[in-house]
Amino acid sequence: MNKYEVLIIDDEPQIGKLLRIILENNDFKVTLATSGKEGILLAANHSPDLIILDLGLPDISGHSVLKELRFWFTKSIIILSVQNSEEDIIQALDNGASDYLVKPFKTGELLARIRSSIRRNNHEDNQKVITCRELQIDFIARTIKKNGEVLKLTTTEYGLMALFFKNEGKVLTHQHILHEIWGVGFQNETQYLRVYIAQLRKKIEDNPDHPIYIVTESRVGYRFI
Protein backbone atom coordinates (compact mmCIF):
# COMPACT_ATOMS: atom_id res chain seq x y z
CA MET A 1 0.00 0.00 0.00
CA ASN A 2 1.26 3.47 -0.84
CA LYS A 3 1.96 5.75 2.05
CA TYR A 4 -0.35 8.73 2.46
CA GLU A 5 1.47 12.01 2.14
CA VAL A 6 0.85 14.78 4.68
CA LEU A 7 1.97 18.38 4.12
CA ILE A 8 2.59 20.35 7.30
CA ILE A 9 2.46 24.15 7.05
CA ASP A 10 3.77 25.50 10.36
CA ASP A 11 6.54 27.98 11.04
CA GLU A 12 7.45 26.56 14.46
CA PRO A 13 10.36 24.19 13.89
CA GLN A 14 9.61 22.32 17.12
CA ILE A 15 6.04 21.58 16.12
CA GLY A 16 7.17 20.63 12.64
CA LYS A 17 9.76 18.24 13.98
CA LEU A 18 7.37 16.73 16.50
CA LEU A 19 4.65 16.22 13.88
CA ARG A 20 7.17 14.64 11.52
CA ILE A 21 8.23 12.14 14.21
CA ILE A 22 4.63 11.30 15.13
CA LEU A 23 3.43 10.96 11.53
CA GLU A 24 6.42 9.08 10.15
CA ASN A 25 6.14 6.73 13.07
CA ASN A 26 2.59 6.06 11.95
CA ASP A 27 3.49 5.35 8.33
CA PHE A 28 2.77 8.70 6.77
CA LYS A 29 5.08 10.47 4.35
CA VAL A 30 5.75 14.00 5.59
CA THR A 31 6.56 17.24 3.78
CA LEU A 32 7.22 20.41 5.76
CA ALA A 33 6.64 24.02 4.79
CA THR A 34 7.52 26.89 7.13
CA SER A 35 5.60 29.70 5.46
CA GLY A 36 2.24 30.18 3.75
CA LYS A 37 3.73 30.77 0.29
CA GLU A 38 6.01 27.74 0.54
CA GLY A 39 3.01 25.71 1.71
CA ILE A 40 0.89 26.66 -1.29
CA LEU A 41 3.79 25.89 -3.63
CA LEU A 42 4.46 22.49 -2.05
CA ALA A 43 0.75 21.66 -2.07
CA ALA A 44 0.71 22.28 -5.82
CA ASN A 45 3.88 20.27 -6.49
CA HIS A 46 3.28 17.32 -4.21
CA SER A 47 -0.51 17.08 -4.20
CA PRO A 48 -0.54 15.62 -0.68
CA ASP A 49 -3.42 13.53 0.69
CA LEU A 50 -3.85 15.88 3.61
CA ILE A 51 -2.60 19.27 4.77
CA ILE A 52 -2.06 20.30 8.37
CA LEU A 53 -2.20 24.08 8.51
CA ASP A 54 -1.24 26.50 11.27
CA LEU A 55 -3.18 29.79 11.36
CA GLY A 56 -0.34 31.97 12.66
CA LEU A 57 2.15 32.01 9.81
CA PRO A 58 4.93 34.57 9.33
CA ASP A 59 4.09 35.74 5.79
CA ILE A 60 0.36 35.41 5.12
CA SER A 61 -2.38 34.47 7.56
CA GLY A 62 -3.45 30.85 7.71
CA HIS A 63 -7.01 31.91 6.84
CA SER A 64 -5.76 33.36 3.54
CA VAL A 65 -3.68 30.27 2.82
CA LEU A 66 -6.78 28.15 3.44
CA LYS A 67 -8.89 30.25 1.07
CA GLU A 68 -6.24 30.13 -1.62
CA LEU A 69 -5.73 26.37 -1.29
CA ARG A 70 -9.47 25.79 -1.50
CA PHE A 71 -9.59 27.23 -5.04
CA TRP A 72 -8.12 23.99 -6.32
CA PHE A 73 -7.12 21.66 -3.47
CA THR A 74 -10.01 19.27 -2.81
CA LYS A 75 -8.56 16.92 -0.24
CA SER A 76 -8.62 17.38 3.53
CA ILE A 77 -7.11 20.35 5.33
CA ILE A 78 -6.85 20.15 9.11
CA ILE A 79 -6.25 23.36 11.02
CA LEU A 80 -3.83 22.99 13.94
CA SER A 81 -3.60 26.25 15.80
CA VAL A 82 -3.26 27.94 19.17
CA GLN A 83 -6.21 30.16 18.27
CA ASN A 84 -9.13 28.74 20.18
CA SER A 85 -11.77 31.41 19.80
CA GLU A 86 -14.93 30.11 18.20
CA GLU A 87 -14.76 32.92 15.63
CA ASP A 88 -11.49 31.53 14.32
CA ILE A 89 -12.71 27.95 14.34
CA ILE A 90 -16.01 28.75 12.63
CA GLN A 91 -14.32 31.01 10.08
CA ALA A 92 -11.85 28.25 9.20
CA LEU A 93 -14.59 25.63 8.91
CA ASP A 94 -16.67 28.00 6.77
CA ASN A 95 -13.65 28.54 4.52
CA GLY A 96 -13.39 24.85 3.84
CA ALA A 97 -11.24 23.40 6.61
CA SER A 98 -12.06 19.74 7.09
CA ASP A 99 -11.31 19.81 10.77
CA TYR A 100 -9.85 21.87 13.55
CA LEU A 101 -7.55 20.95 16.41
CA VAL A 102 -6.30 23.37 19.04
CA LYS A 103 -2.72 23.35 20.34
CA PRO A 104 -1.79 21.81 22.74
CA PHE A 105 -3.27 18.67 21.25
CA LYS A 106 -3.28 15.00 22.10
CA THR A 107 -1.38 12.80 19.64
CA GLY A 108 -4.09 10.15 19.64
CA GLU A 109 -6.71 12.73 18.77
CA LEU A 110 -4.62 14.20 15.96
CA LEU A 111 -4.04 10.77 14.42
CA ALA A 112 -7.73 9.92 14.70
CA ARG A 113 -8.68 13.17 12.95
CA ILE A 114 -6.09 12.61 10.22
CA ARG A 115 -7.30 9.06 9.60
CA SER A 116 -10.96 10.00 9.49
CA SER A 117 -10.20 12.95 7.18
CA ILE A 118 -8.28 10.71 4.79
CA ARG A 119 -11.07 8.17 4.93
CA ARG A 120 -13.54 10.89 3.93
CA ASN A 121 -11.23 11.85 1.01
CA ASN A 122 -11.71 8.38 -0.36
CA HIS A 123 -15.41 8.19 0.37
CA GLU A 124 -17.53 7.30 -2.57
CA ASP A 125 -20.26 9.85 -2.70
CA ASN A 126 -22.89 7.39 -3.83
CA GLN A 127 -22.59 4.84 -1.04
CA LYS A 128 -25.98 3.31 -0.37
CA VAL A 129 -25.26 2.02 3.11
CA ILE A 130 -22.85 3.35 5.74
CA THR A 131 -22.18 1.62 9.05
CA CYS A 132 -20.82 3.29 12.15
CA ARG A 133 -20.38 0.82 15.00
CA GLU A 134 -23.92 -0.21 16.02
CA LEU A 135 -25.60 2.25 13.68
CA GLN A 136 -26.30 1.79 10.01
CA ILE A 137 -27.92 4.12 7.52
CA ASP A 138 -29.61 3.00 4.30
CA PHE A 139 -29.92 5.97 1.97
CA ILE A 140 -32.26 4.12 -0.41
CA ALA A 141 -34.71 2.86 2.17
CA ARG A 142 -34.18 6.05 4.21
CA THR A 143 -33.84 4.05 7.40
CA ILE A 144 -31.45 3.93 10.31
CA LYS A 145 -30.84 0.71 12.16
CA LYS A 146 -29.29 0.21 15.55
CA ASN A 147 -28.05 -3.35 16.09
CA GLY A 148 -30.16 -4.39 13.11
CA GLU A 149 -33.36 -2.85 14.44
CA VAL A 150 -34.99 -0.01 12.52
CA LEU A 151 -35.26 3.19 14.61
CA LYS A 152 -38.42 5.26 14.48
CA LEU A 153 -37.22 8.64 13.31
CA THR A 154 -39.10 11.66 12.02
CA THR A 155 -38.21 13.19 8.67
CA THR A 156 -36.10 15.91 10.24
CA GLU A 157 -34.34 13.45 12.53
CA TYR A 158 -33.54 11.24 9.55
CA GLY A 159 -32.25 14.30 7.66
CA LEU A 160 -29.93 15.14 10.54
CA MET A 161 -28.64 11.57 10.73
CA ALA A 162 -28.04 11.45 6.98
CA LEU A 163 -26.05 14.69 7.22
CA PHE A 164 -24.04 13.28 10.11
CA PHE A 165 -23.31 9.99 8.34
CA LYS A 166 -22.14 11.80 5.20
CA ASN A 167 -19.74 13.82 7.37
CA GLU A 168 -18.62 11.14 9.73
CA GLY A 169 -15.79 12.31 11.99
CA LYS A 170 -16.11 15.90 10.86
CA VAL A 171 -17.18 18.78 13.07
CA LEU A 172 -20.30 20.46 11.69
CA THR A 173 -21.03 24.00 12.88
CA HIS A 174 -24.47 24.87 14.25
CA GLN A 175 -24.95 27.28 11.35
CA HIS A 176 -24.01 24.67 8.78
CA ILE A 177 -26.42 22.08 10.16
CA LEU A 178 -29.27 24.59 10.45
CA HIS A 179 -28.67 25.74 6.89
CA GLU A 180 -28.53 22.20 5.53
CA ILE A 181 -31.63 20.91 7.33
CA TRP A 182 -33.89 23.93 7.75
CA GLY A 183 -32.56 26.11 4.94
CA VAL A 184 -31.68 29.78 4.53
CA GLY A 185 -32.86 32.07 7.32
CA PHE A 186 -32.67 29.51 10.09
CA GLN A 187 -28.93 29.85 10.78
CA ASN A 188 -29.49 31.48 14.14
CA GLU A 189 -32.35 29.31 15.38
CA THR A 190 -30.07 27.16 17.48
CA GLN A 191 -32.94 26.24 19.79
CA TYR A 192 -34.44 23.95 17.14
CA LEU A 193 -31.13 22.21 16.74
CA ARG A 194 -30.72 21.77 20.50
CA VAL A 195 -34.13 20.19 20.83
CA TYR A 196 -33.64 17.83 17.88
CA ILE A 197 -30.18 16.76 19.00
CA ALA A 198 -31.55 16.01 22.49
CA GLN A 199 -34.39 13.96 20.94
CA LEU A 200 -32.05 12.13 18.57
CA ARG A 201 -29.67 11.24 21.34
CA LYS A 202 -32.50 9.64 23.27
CA LYS A 203 -33.14 7.42 20.27
CA ILE A 204 -29.64 6.47 19.19
CA GLU A 205 -27.40 6.74 22.26
CA ASP A 206 -27.19 4.10 25.00
CA ASN A 207 -26.76 6.92 27.51
CA PRO A 208 -28.02 10.23 26.09
CA ASP A 209 -26.21 12.15 28.84
CA HIS A 210 -22.86 10.73 27.76
CA PRO A 211 -23.25 10.58 23.99
CA ILE A 212 -20.72 8.60 21.97
CA TYR A 213 -22.20 9.11 18.49
CA ILE A 214 -23.25 12.75 18.38
CA VAL A 215 -20.57 14.51 20.36
CA THR A 216 -20.77 18.16 21.35
CA GLU A 217 -18.00 20.43 20.18
CA SER A 218 -18.43 23.25 22.69
CA ARG A 219 -19.39 26.60 21.19
CA VAL A 220 -18.92 25.32 17.64
CA GLY A 221 -21.23 22.47 16.75
CA TYR A 222 -21.47 18.70 16.70
CA ARG A 223 -19.34 15.83 15.49
CA PHE A 224 -20.64 12.39 14.52
CA ILE A 225 -18.20 9.61 15.28
Partner: protein, 359 residues
Protein backbone atom coordinates in the same frame (compact mmCIF):
# COMPACT_ATOMS: atom_id res chain seq x y z
CA UNK B 1 -8.49 64.68 53.54
CA UNK B 2 -11.30 62.34 52.76
CA UNK B 3 -13.53 65.35 53.27
CA UNK B 4 -12.66 66.49 49.77
CA UNK B 5 -14.86 64.77 47.33
CA UNK B 6 -13.49 62.64 44.55
CA UNK B 7 -16.34 63.32 42.19
CA UNK B 8 -15.25 65.28 39.20
CA UNK B 9 -17.94 67.22 37.37
CA UNK B 10 -17.52 68.24 33.75
CA UNK B 11 -16.37 71.84 33.27
CA UNK B 12 -19.64 73.29 31.91
CA UNK B 13 -21.54 71.75 34.79
CA UNK B 14 -19.18 73.36 37.28
CA UNK B 15 -19.76 76.81 35.76
CA UNK B 16 -23.50 76.27 35.61
CA UNK B 17 -23.76 75.10 39.22
CA UNK B 18 -21.54 77.99 40.39
CA UNK B 19 -23.63 80.62 38.61
CA UNK B 20 -26.93 79.11 39.74
CA UNK B 21 -25.73 78.91 43.31
CA UNK B 22 -24.61 82.55 43.29
CA UNK B 23 -28.01 83.64 41.97
CA UNK B 24 -29.95 81.45 44.35
CA UNK B 25 -28.08 82.67 47.40
CA UNK B 26 -28.08 86.30 46.31
CA UNK B 27 -31.84 86.21 45.70
CA UNK B 28 -32.48 84.62 49.07
CA UNK B 29 -30.18 87.08 50.81
CA UNK B 30 -31.72 89.98 48.93
CA UNK B 31 -35.17 89.04 50.22
CA UNK B 32 -33.82 88.70 53.77
CA UNK B 33 -31.44 91.67 53.55
CA UNK B 34 -33.62 93.75 55.87
CA UNK B 35 -33.13 91.26 58.69
CA UNK B 36 -29.54 90.14 58.26
CA UNK B 37 -27.66 93.11 56.92
CA UNK B 38 -25.10 93.25 54.11
CA UNK B 39 -22.11 92.15 56.21
CA UNK B 40 -23.75 88.84 57.05
CA UNK B 41 -24.48 88.44 53.33
CA UNK B 42 -20.75 88.77 52.67
CA UNK B 43 -20.08 86.00 55.18
CA UNK B 44 -22.70 83.76 53.59
CA UNK B 45 -21.09 84.38 50.19
CA UNK B 46 -17.69 83.49 51.64
CA UNK B 47 -19.00 80.21 52.99
CA UNK B 48 -20.48 79.44 49.56
CA UNK B 49 -17.17 80.18 47.80
CA UNK B 50 -15.36 77.93 50.27
CA UNK B 51 -17.71 75.05 49.62
CA UNK B 52 -17.44 75.43 45.86
CA UNK B 53 -13.67 75.46 46.20
CA UNK B 54 -13.86 72.04 47.87
CA UNK B 55 -15.06 70.27 44.74
CA UNK B 56 -14.65 72.53 41.72
CA UNK B 57 -11.71 73.61 39.60
CA UNK B 58 -9.98 76.93 40.16
CA UNK B 59 -11.63 78.86 37.31
CA UNK B 60 -15.28 78.26 38.29
CA UNK B 61 -14.31 79.16 41.86
CA UNK B 62 -12.73 82.44 40.76
CA UNK B 63 -15.80 83.14 38.68
CA UNK B 64 -17.98 82.54 41.74
CA UNK B 65 -15.80 84.83 43.84
CA UNK B 66 -15.87 87.63 41.25
CA UNK B 67 -19.55 87.27 40.48
CA UNK B 68 -20.55 87.23 44.15
CA UNK B 69 -18.34 90.25 44.87
CA UNK B 70 -19.97 92.21 42.07
CA UNK B 71 -23.47 91.17 43.10
CA UNK B 72 -22.73 92.01 46.66
CA UNK B 73 -21.50 95.44 45.57
CA UNK B 74 -24.45 96.05 43.23
CA UNK B 75 -27.34 94.76 45.31
CA UNK B 76 -26.20 94.99 48.89
CA UNK B 77 -23.70 97.85 49.42
CA UNK B 78 -25.35 101.30 49.49
CA UNK B 79 -26.05 103.02 47.23
CA UNK B 80 -27.98 100.01 46.00
CA UNK B 81 -28.14 99.09 42.29
CA UNK B 82 -24.89 100.82 41.40
CA UNK B 83 -21.32 99.65 41.43
CA UNK B 84 -20.48 102.86 43.23
CA UNK B 85 -19.44 102.59 46.88
CA UNK B 86 -19.87 105.53 49.23
CA UNK B 87 -18.09 104.88 52.50
CA UNK B 88 -14.41 104.02 52.85
CA UNK B 89 -15.43 101.22 55.21
CA UNK B 90 -17.54 99.59 52.49
CA UNK B 91 -14.76 99.94 49.93
CA UNK B 92 -12.43 98.24 52.35
CA UNK B 93 -15.04 95.56 53.05
CA UNK B 94 -15.48 94.97 49.33
CA UNK B 95 -11.76 94.45 48.66
CA UNK B 96 -11.23 92.39 51.80
CA UNK B 97 -14.16 90.22 50.76
CA UNK B 98 -12.71 89.71 47.31
CA UNK B 99 -9.21 89.02 48.66
CA UNK B 100 -10.45 86.46 51.21
CA UNK B 101 -12.57 84.70 48.60
CA UNK B 102 -9.70 84.43 46.13
CA UNK B 103 -7.11 83.41 48.71
CA UNK B 104 -9.54 80.90 50.16
CA UNK B 105 -10.14 79.44 46.70
CA UNK B 106 -6.44 79.35 45.95
CA UNK B 107 -5.53 77.58 49.17
CA UNK B 108 -8.26 74.96 48.91
CA UNK B 109 -7.24 74.30 45.35
CA UNK B 110 -3.63 73.85 46.35
CA UNK B 111 -4.55 71.44 49.14
CA UNK B 112 -6.67 69.43 46.73
CA UNK B 113 -3.82 69.28 44.26
CA UNK B 114 -1.52 67.96 46.97
CA UNK B 115 -4.11 65.43 47.92
CA UNK B 116 -4.43 64.20 44.34
CA UNK B 117 -0.66 63.87 44.16
CA UNK B 118 -0.58 61.89 47.39
CA UNK B 119 -3.37 59.63 46.17
CA UNK B 120 -1.61 59.01 42.88
CA UNK B 121 1.55 58.10 44.74
CA UNK B 122 -0.41 55.75 46.98
CA UNK B 123 -2.07 54.12 43.98
CA UNK B 124 1.25 53.74 42.24
CA UNK B 125 2.68 52.01 45.30
CA UNK B 126 -0.37 49.79 45.49
CA UNK B 127 -0.09 48.78 41.84
CA UNK B 128 3.62 48.08 42.23
CA UNK B 129 2.76 45.85 45.18
CA UNK B 130 0.05 44.10 43.18
CA UNK B 131 2.42 43.70 40.26
CA UNK B 132 5.02 42.13 42.53
CA UNK B 133 2.48 39.73 44.01
CA UNK B 134 1.39 38.87 40.50
CA UNK B 135 4.92 38.21 39.29
CA UNK B 136 5.69 36.15 42.40
CA UNK B 137 2.55 34.05 42.03
CA UNK B 138 3.09 33.68 38.33
CA UNK B 139 6.67 32.63 38.49
CA UNK B 140 5.78 30.14 41.19
CA UNK B 141 2.78 28.75 39.32
CA UNK B 142 4.62 28.54 36.02
CA UNK B 143 7.97 27.40 37.30
CA UNK B 144 6.65 24.53 39.41
CA UNK B 145 5.32 22.52 36.45
CA UNK B 146 8.24 23.58 34.25
CA UNK B 147 10.66 22.30 36.90
CA UNK B 148 8.81 19.00 37.07
CA UNK B 149 8.94 18.61 33.30
CA UNK B 150 12.60 19.56 33.01
CA UNK B 151 13.71 17.38 35.91
CA UNK B 152 11.76 14.35 34.70
CA UNK B 153 13.04 14.68 31.15
CA UNK B 154 16.55 15.21 32.44
CA UNK B 155 16.37 12.07 34.53
CA UNK B 156 15.04 10.06 31.62
CA UNK B 157 17.72 11.28 29.23
CA UNK B 158 20.68 10.89 31.53
CA UNK B 159 19.83 7.78 33.48
CA UNK B 160 17.89 5.91 30.85
CA UNK B 161 19.54 2.55 31.52
CA UNK B 162 19.16 2.80 35.31
CA UNK B 163 15.43 3.46 35.32
CA UNK B 164 12.95 0.64 35.59
CA UNK B 165 9.98 0.66 33.25
CA UNK B 166 7.72 1.53 36.17
CA UNK B 167 9.77 4.55 37.16
CA UNK B 168 9.86 5.74 33.56
CA UNK B 169 6.11 5.46 33.39
CA UNK B 170 5.80 7.42 36.61
CA UNK B 171 8.04 10.17 35.31
CA UNK B 172 6.00 10.38 32.13
CA UNK B 173 2.84 10.68 34.15
CA UNK B 174 4.44 13.51 36.15
CA UNK B 175 5.32 15.29 32.93
CA UNK B 176 1.75 14.82 31.77
CA UNK B 177 0.25 16.29 34.96
CA UNK B 178 2.68 19.20 34.88
CA UNK B 179 1.91 20.03 31.25
CA UNK B 180 -1.82 20.00 31.92
CA UNK B 181 -1.29 22.34 34.85
CA UNK B 182 0.92 24.63 32.83
CA UNK B 183 -1.64 24.74 30.07
CA UNK B 184 -4.44 25.52 32.50
CA UNK B 185 -2.41 28.33 34.01
CA UNK B 186 -1.84 29.90 30.62
CA UNK B 187 -5.54 29.51 29.76
CA UNK B 188 -6.46 31.27 33.00
CA UNK B 189 -4.07 34.10 32.30
CA UNK B 190 -5.47 34.52 28.80
CA UNK B 191 -9.02 34.53 30.17
CA UNK B 192 -8.05 37.06 32.81
CA UNK B 193 -6.53 39.20 30.11
CA UNK B 194 -9.67 38.91 27.97
CA UNK B 195 -11.68 40.11 30.95
CA UNK B 196 -9.41 42.97 31.90
CA UNK B 197 -8.69 44.25 28.42
CA UNK B 198 -12.40 44.89 28.01
CA UNK B 199 -12.44 43.00 24.72
CA UNK B 200 -14.77 40.35 26.02
CA UNK B 201 -17.67 40.22 23.59
CA UNK B 202 -20.49 37.92 24.59
CA UNK B 203 -22.09 35.64 22.04
CA UNK B 204 -25.52 34.64 23.25
CA UNK B 205 -26.90 31.43 21.80
CA UNK B 206 -29.66 29.08 22.84
CA UNK B 207 -28.00 26.48 24.99
CA UNK B 208 -28.99 23.23 26.57
CA UNK B 209 -27.54 23.62 30.05
CA UNK B 210 -27.97 19.90 30.76
CA UNK B 211 -25.70 19.17 27.84
CA UNK B 212 -23.24 21.83 28.93
CA UNK B 213 -23.02 20.39 32.44
CA UNK B 214 -22.38 16.89 31.09
CA UNK B 215 -19.69 18.25 28.77
CA UNK B 216 -17.93 19.79 31.75
CA UNK B 217 -18.24 16.59 33.78
CA UNK B 218 -16.78 14.65 30.87
CA UNK B 219 -13.89 17.09 30.49
CA UNK B 220 -13.06 16.80 34.18
CA UNK B 221 -13.28 13.02 34.20
CA UNK B 222 -9.49 12.54 33.84
CA UNK B 223 -8.75 15.05 36.62
CA UNK B 224 -11.31 14.13 39.23
CA UNK B 225 -9.36 11.24 40.81
CA UNK B 226 -11.38 9.80 43.70
CA UNK B 227 -14.03 12.53 43.72
CA UNK B 228 -17.53 11.77 42.60
CA UNK B 229 -19.41 14.41 40.65
CA UNK B 230 -23.17 14.17 40.89
CA UNK B 231 -25.70 15.81 38.62
CA UNK B 232 -29.30 14.71 38.19
CA UNK B 233 -30.67 16.20 34.97
CA UNK B 234 -34.27 17.15 34.58
CA UNK B 235 -36.22 16.80 31.35
CA UNK B 236 -38.43 19.77 32.01
CA UNK B 237 -35.74 22.41 31.68
CA UNK B 238 -35.96 25.10 29.01
CA UNK B 239 -33.14 26.26 26.77
CA UNK B 240 -31.30 29.34 28.02
CA UNK B 241 -29.78 32.10 25.93
CA UNK B 242 -26.24 32.54 27.28
CA UNK B 243 -22.66 32.69 26.12
CA UNK B 244 -21.94 28.98 26.18
CA UNK B 245 -18.17 29.27 26.17
CA UNK B 246 -18.07 31.54 29.19
CA UNK B 247 -20.64 29.64 31.24
CA UNK B 248 -18.87 26.39 30.47
CA UNK B 249 -15.67 27.96 31.78
CA UNK B 250 -17.50 29.20 34.89
CA UNK B 251 -18.81 25.73 35.63
CA UNK B 252 -15.49 24.11 34.80
CA UNK B 253 -13.60 26.41 37.16
CA UNK B 254 -16.10 25.90 40.01
CA UNK B 255 -16.05 22.11 39.77
CA UNK B 256 -12.32 22.02 39.18
CA UNK B 257 -11.85 24.23 42.22
CA UNK B 258 -13.88 21.80 44.30
CA UNK B 259 -11.75 18.91 43.00
CA UNK B 260 -8.50 20.65 43.94
CA UNK B 261 -9.50 21.96 47.37
CA UNK B 262 -11.50 19.10 48.85
CA UNK B 263 -10.05 15.80 50.07
CA UNK B 264 -10.17 12.73 47.83
CA UNK B 265 -13.34 10.72 48.05
CA UNK B 266 -15.64 13.66 48.69
CA UNK B 267 -18.71 14.39 46.60
CA UNK B 268 -19.27 17.40 44.36
CA UNK B 269 -22.88 18.14 43.50
CA UNK B 270 -24.12 20.29 40.63
CA UNK B 271 -27.68 21.60 40.62
CA UNK B 272 -29.35 23.59 37.90
CA UNK B 273 -32.71 25.29 37.96
CA UNK B 274 -34.58 27.97 36.05
CA UNK B 275 -36.55 30.74 37.76
CA UNK B 276 -38.64 33.63 36.49
CA UNK B 277 -35.97 35.61 34.72
CA UNK B 278 -32.76 33.86 35.57
CA UNK B 279 -31.13 30.47 35.77
CA UNK B 280 -29.28 29.23 38.80
CA UNK B 281 -26.33 26.87 38.98
CA UNK B 282 -25.18 25.57 42.35
CA UNK B 283 -21.89 23.74 42.83
CA UNK B 284 -21.50 22.31 46.32
CA UNK B 285 -19.00 20.03 48.00
CA UNK B 286 -18.73 18.31 51.35
CA UNK B 287 -15.13 19.28 51.98
CA UNK B 288 -13.75 21.43 54.80
CA UNK B 289 -15.54 24.64 53.77
CA UNK B 290 -13.96 28.10 53.72
CA UNK B 291 -12.89 30.01 56.87
CA UNK B 292 -15.65 32.49 57.67
CA UNK B 293 -13.50 35.59 57.54
CA UNK B 294 -12.12 34.61 54.13
CA UNK B 295 -15.44 34.05 52.38
CA UNK B 296 -15.46 37.61 51.06
CA UNK B 297 -12.02 37.34 49.54
CA UNK B 298 -12.13 34.14 47.52
CA UNK B 299 -13.14 35.91 44.30
CA UNK B 300 -10.17 38.28 44.45
CA UNK B 301 -7.41 37.87 41.94
CA UNK B 302 -4.59 35.65 43.22
CA UNK B 303 -6.27 35.24 46.59
CA UNK B 304 -5.64 31.81 48.07
CA UNK B 305 -7.44 30.57 51.15
CA UNK B 306 -4.95 30.26 54.02
CA UNK B 307 -3.39 26.83 54.22
CA UNK B 308 -4.82 25.64 50.90
CA UNK B 309 -2.69 23.13 49.08
CA UNK B 310 -0.77 23.99 45.95
CA UNK B 311 -2.04 23.26 42.47
CA UNK B 312 -4.50 26.10 42.19
CA UNK B 313 -3.83 29.28 40.29
CA UNK B 314 -5.54 31.92 42.40
CA UNK B 315 -7.29 33.02 39.22
CA UNK B 316 -10.06 30.45 38.76
CA UNK B 317 -12.67 32.12 40.95
CA UNK B 318 -11.91 35.65 39.81
CA UNK B 319 -12.50 34.47 36.25
CA UNK B 320 -15.78 32.92 37.40
CA UNK B 321 -16.82 36.23 38.88
CA UNK B 322 -15.72 38.15 35.80
CA UNK B 323 -17.57 35.91 33.34
CA UNK B 324 -20.72 35.84 35.47
CA UNK B 325 -20.64 39.62 35.84
CA UNK B 326 -20.30 39.90 32.07
CA UNK B 327 -23.74 38.22 31.95
CA UNK B 328 -25.00 40.73 34.57
CA UNK B 329 -25.25 37.79 36.92
CA UNK B 330 -24.01 37.20 40.45
CA UNK B 331 -21.93 34.54 42.11
CA UNK B 332 -21.91 34.00 45.86
CA UNK B 333 -20.34 31.50 48.19
CA UNK B 334 -21.57 30.21 51.53
CA UNK B 335 -20.55 27.51 53.97
CA UNK B 336 -22.78 24.51 54.49
CA UNK B 337 -22.94 22.44 57.70
CA UNK B 338 -20.33 20.38 55.88
CA UNK B 339 -18.53 21.89 52.88
CA UNK B 340 -19.50 24.98 50.93
CA UNK B 341 -21.56 25.98 47.94
CA UNK B 342 -21.17 28.44 45.12
CA UNK B 343 -24.37 29.88 43.72
CA UNK B 344 -24.37 31.39 40.24
CA UNK B 345 -27.39 33.38 39.12
CA UNK B 346 -27.58 34.47 35.51
CA UNK B 347 -30.41 36.55 34.09
CA UNK B 348 -31.34 35.05 30.73
CA UNK B 349 -34.05 34.49 28.17
CA UNK B 350 -35.53 31.01 28.22
CA UNK B 351 -37.31 28.94 25.61
CA UNK B 352 -39.66 26.11 26.39
CA UNK B 353 -39.86 24.60 22.90
CA UNK B 354 -38.97 21.19 24.24
CA UNK B 355 -41.02 19.09 21.93
CA UNK B 356 -41.20 20.02 18.31
CA UNK B 357 -43.96 18.34 16.44
CA UNK B 358 -42.32 17.33 13.34
CA UNK B 359 -43.40 16.86 9.87
Amino acid sequence: MAFFKNIHHPKWKQYLISILLVFLISTTCFLLNEYIGNKTVALIFLVMVSFIALTFDILPVLLTATLSALIWNFFFIPPLFTFHINSAEDILMFFVYFAIAVVNAGFTFKIRKEEIKAREKEEKLKSIKLYNTLINCLSHELKTPISTIMASVDTMMEQEDKLSADVQKELLSEINTASIRLNRQVENLLNMNRLESGFLKLKFIWSDINELIFTVIQKLEPLKNEHSIIYKPSDELPLCKIDEGLIEQVLYNLVHNAIIYTPEGTTITIKFSVHDSHCKIIVSDNGPGIPKDELDHVFKKFYRVTGSKSGGTGLGLSIVKGFVSAHNGTVTVENLPKGCQFIVRIPCETSYINQLNNE
